[in-house]
Symmetry: C2
Subunit: 415 residues, 2 copies
Amino acid sequence: MTDLREMGERAVAAKAQLQTLHAGERTRGLMAAADALLQNAETILKENNTDMENAVRNGMNPGLQDRLRLTAERICDMAEGLRQVAGLPDPVGEVMQEMTRPNGLQIRKVRVPLGVVGMIYEARPNVTADAFGLCFKTGNAVILKGGSDALHSNAAIVKVLRGALEKEGISPDALQLIADTDRQVTVAFMKLKEYVDVLIPRGSKRLIQSVVENSTIPVIETGTGNCHIYVDAAADVDMAVKIICNAKTQRVGVCNACESLLVHGDIRERLLPKLAEALAPKSVELRGDRRVKEVLPDCTDATQEDYGREYLDYILSIKTVDSTEEAVAHIGRYGTRHSECIVTEDEKAAEKFLNGTDAACVYWNASTRFTDGFEFGFGAEIGISTQKLHARGPMGPRELTTYKYIICGDGQIRG
Amino acid sequence: MTDLREMGERAVAAKAQLQTLHAGERTRGLMAAADALLQNAETILKENNTDMENAVRNGMNPGLQDRLRLTAERICDMAEGLRQVAGLPDPVGEVMQEMTRPNGLQIRKVRVPLGVVGMIYEARPNVTADAFGLCFKTGNAVILKGGSDALHSNAAIVKVLRGALEKEGISPDALQLIADTDRQVTVAFMKLKEYVDVLIPRGSKRLIQSVVENSTIPVIETGTGNCHIYVDAAADVDMAVKIICNAKTQRVGVCNACESLLVHGDIRERLLPKLAEALAPKSVELRGDRRVKEVLPDCTDATQEDYGREYLDYILSIKTVDSTEEAVAHIGRYGTRHSECIVTEDEKAAEKFLNGTDAACVYWNASTRFTDGFEFGFGAEIGISTQKLHARGPMGPRELTTYKYIICGDGQIRG
């Protein structure tokens, strides 16, 4: 069985070494890691093939198989991802605030790495390299627990990355993988508070729920997105149709896809037929309330349960509301605080919606699909936070840091 | 039994109203609350008297009795505290970042209230008013669970504050108290994730531990402080003695008091006799290792357990180390990431210590007692965070906020 405490000790030791590395040394480590992925692509593909064979044998569904599968091109993307992260601005060491107190004490608030980051995720081997990249970039040691179905792939990737670090004279324990499929080990990992500073789960609602319930380590929740678009009475109908189609269908399996449409009663007759027509080529199933069905008789009945679901599929629930307030209240009840949008030409309604809606990202006349580290100009992201502590929305390098106060005196004591 | 879900619903409704208040209205609410405390001092004192009688009957220790006791002067201090908070800069609405993307999307990162704050604390009625003040200042609704021993006092204070809000036309549910002494209710409160955005425990290590283990709400840990002073070989001995005496004895029962001294082997013969002499008038018990005892034969033996203790008393553990690295490693093992200090004239040693020590506040040649919202110039604080997520060190109004991204477009969709 995995000795988690020993892994914790190793991570803490690696953390101490990482703190002594300059930004240039960290960049070199990332470049070496990228090269190593390319040089060892064949080995990684071979191990991934073992995972894929098991997946097929176990009847994994095609969508998950696609996430698990690596190709030469995908390994190139992983390497390219590491190079891009290497090129991002370095947040570590930034002086966030500086002041001299009346007693002469000099106080500096300085950005520092979080320390040891834990990540629990599902069967997506690319997350292994991505998570390492962002954590290493920001001077953090990382312990990964990936999905069991990807164990061979992850072990191969981690071995290659650790080898690259070692060649650069950097402790390979900056990256460790829990190569264990026992659920008890995962739960024990969630309680490794003595060594791990933050735990980031990435994956299904169920995975995140389990981490929230079991972890004693501070958690950053990511990813569940029941995102709404509210089409106000004063919306530009053509713009609304365009935004809804994009947010719903540009990529259905992602957390910032639109799952639910709120339509103002006064605009439903103008909006819904056009929308149904626009969504028809993608075979999106529409599930609406009574007033929606008055306009779209072929629409399925929406249940209360529908309004709370993140479909990640070609399905859209539709509810009629009679005011911005009602839309905001509905989102307060069913939303997951991810990305919420209003389409309107009425500035007052927009302001009410943007201020009143409690979410990481609130949109006015734009697709929710823009909630993404790259789209925001932050570069890579380790996830999209849906909680309010520490980080909200796309989490890039800066969100993998904390700060400390450095206080310099010449003998000051408190009176 | 307390209906926690109903309290949660009320808090969420109050939160929505708080979001519509301007800074001036929140200031007026705080001033009215301060006035109301003074006007109702007699009632509050009477209820506190009931708590005090019970405490005496139950044999509460004198230190805790002192924390529980209210006087006319202490109520004045509580009111004055609210007025000071009213006068602090308002962090809500601050635009933290603003950018226009190449596609024309305008993204603003704006500071907003956390929403609903939960606080669990012990028998200190002044925390009731303080916590309300900072939460209300920053547009947060708050649900308090104070120590059972202070129940009458807390209920009286909360009733007065709620009355003041109501008179100002503000929802009194901005402040709610769980007036229940059943531990099951407290544990259920820790799982009220649907309504409460952050839970801040304030009090003993045991209380904080229980919250960390039971809560599904994101927690900010506060307060446990096993703070060290490391006296380097190159220290100014007189300065070191002055700083240690202040950090140990200026107020022994607080989290930023010094609990443990690390002394470089080369300076122990010059430092320790002077230190023992300086601490003698305060009867501080010294517990040292073998090499300390060589210099101070009367010193008690320090055990491994001593190095891990937060005494909050007139006791100081002393350990000999032979390098800054050893001091940093010892603090890494026994420290609580609160406040740590090096005394030295050697800039290189100081830099090594300040960078290498993982704590909210790291000091060079100054007393650890300065870790305090007022001393840092932040005004009042709701606690001192010893974790790394969200906030570290003194938590003032700014640390009771989060942010959201507001994204405005004119129909942008993702390609």
